[in-house]
């Protein structure tokens, strides 16, 4: 996916990405301070908000191939099962029992399939949202701070699902997170955003261990406590 001259103004904030490339089949980590424009870029890629100018070349992907899961996922006023099969239903795909069971198990919700989704704990809601985003086989998944507020075992579960997915059927991921350990461990490429601009991209080694941009150096210095990678 290639982004060229993309702009979006929101009040005083201006997001401006001159050129960015997200290689297919890789896990891309998006980091940066709060308000740097990570989520705005994610919404632009997802098509939730329109760009003022510029273009995103999805390289053959259709809106139905892309999905996104956020920090506060929207869950239907319905059961865990109904939530999980929603993307299949709208695609006219019959939800096979084994597929549903497999994703319920991955999300650790196999005993809660009939439970009202909004009565789940926040961690369970995140896992359900994650499973729902993946069950229909998307080709690009945007994970917007889904890992925030998760217990360590929840983060490990997410990571194992992502790793398994990449082993079996690699897809493109854009994961926005402040958890640098997670970014360092999973991502093939890391993109650092500052004040609406993409200021440095590269491998985790390049960006996190040997940053060249002063903003990245400053950011890493400020988050040194949380980053032990």
């Amino acid at each position: 996916m290639r982004i060229t001259d993309l702009t979006r103004r929101q009040g005083d904030f201006l997001l401006k990405i001159d050129n960015a490339y997200f290689e297919p089949g890789k896990i891309h980590g998006m980091i940066g301070s709060n308000g740097s424009g990570k989520s705005t870029l994610a919404k632009l890629i997802m098509g939730i908000i329109p760009a003022d100018s510029g273009c995103i070349d999805y390289e053959g992907l259709t809106p139905r191939d892309i999905t996104m899961t956020g920090q506060k996922p929207y869950l239907l006023h319905s059961s865990v099962y109904q939530n999980l099969i929603y993307p299949l239903k709208i695609r006219g795909i019959e939800p096979r029992a084994e597929l549903v069971d497999q994703w319920l198990e991955k999300a650790g919700l196999q005993h809660k399939r009939k439970q009202y989704a909004l009565s789940l704990s926040s961690g369970e809601q995140q896992r359900l949202s994650f499973a729902r985003a993946l069950i229909f086989g998307p080709k690009l998944v945007i994970v917007d701070e889904t890992l925030s507020n998760l217990a360590p075992d929840g983060v490990r579960l997410f990571e194992s699902i992502m790793e398994q997915q990449q082993r079996e059927n690699p897809i493109t991921w854009i994961t926005i997170s402040h958890q640098l350990v997670h970014i360092s461990k999973l991502c093939d490429e890391v993109h650092f955003m500052e004040q609406g601009r993409l200021v440095q991209s590269g491998t985790p080694e390049q960006v996190l261990k040997h940053p060249t941009n002063p903003s990245v150096i400053q950011y890493l210095a400020n988050t040194e406590v949380s980053f032990k990678g």
């Binding site: 929207y74 319905s78 439970q115």
Partner: protein, 228 residues
């Protein structure tokens, strides 16, 4: 109370017909208002146009409009020399339904609109991330706010069966034709028959209770179907 009392009471006030008129009137006015109110709320939430705020404010004002004023306006529209006089609806159930529709539609529209403004953007964004098309998104929004729509419709129905002023003006309180339970109670009070009025009032409340119970039962069925 003995049998002669009942037969006299039923006959004098036209109780059975007033129940019939009330059921027909409240059913049709609630049905039409629900369709109009929900549709208008969706259109209002989806569209952006100059003076939208003013339209919303007018709708909110209409939500609290005195029924008697709405009744008077409807009467002026429907009377022989009025713009809709050719319909011949004055002093008919159709006329009363028209008046009630004018009263209830803004209530349902305003309530559903306020739910939509709060919830629809999130649902729309979610539907987009799932790959839903426009029709699927709209259906999802309606499905997700179904409880709120239900409460709006029940509120509209409550307003319909309890209303006196507008149906009095437009219907004329004609015994066995346009007399409703509320106008019958009003007539009974005028004649000093308080106990009979209270009796009719209890029947009215029972009707509301039965409708509410049926609606709750229906919603319970829906929940069970969804395997909660």
């Amino acid at each position: 109370m003995n049998e002669p009392f009942f037969s006299e009471f039923f006959g004098t006030i036209g109780m059975l017909d007033s129940i019939r008129v009330t059921i027909i009137m409240s059913f049709f006015s609630t049905l039409i208002s629900s369709i109009l109110g929900v549709t208008l709320a969706i259109l209002l939430e989806r569209s952006t146009f100059p003076m939208k705020r003013l339209v919303v404010r007018i709708n909110r004002t209409m939500m609290g409009a005195p029924p008697v004023v709405m009744g008077l306006l409807t009467y002026m529209l429907l009377r022989k020399r009025g713009p809709l006089g050719f319909l011949g609806w004055v002093f008919t159930i159709q006329g009363m339904v028209t008046a009630q529709t004018l009263i209830i539609t803004p209530i349902i529209c305003g309530m559903v609109y306020s739910y939509l403004v709060r919830e629809a953007p999130r649902i729309r964004a979610f539907a987009h991330t799932m790959g839903a098309n426009r029709m699927q998104t709209n259906l999802l929004i309606l499905r997700e706010i179904r409880n709120e729509v239900y409460f709006s419709v029940v509120s509209g129905y409550g307003r319909s069966i309890s209303e006196v002023g507008a149906v009095f003006l437009v219907g004329g309180n004609i015994k066995n034709v346009t007399r409703t339970m509320t106008t019958a109670i009003s007539t009974l009070k005028g004649a000093g028959d308080y106990y009979e009025g209270v009796f009719l009032g209890i029947i009215l409340m029972l009707m509301a209770f039965v409708v509410q119970t049926l609606a709750d039962w229906f919603r319970k069925e829906v929940r069970e179907d969804e395997n909660y």
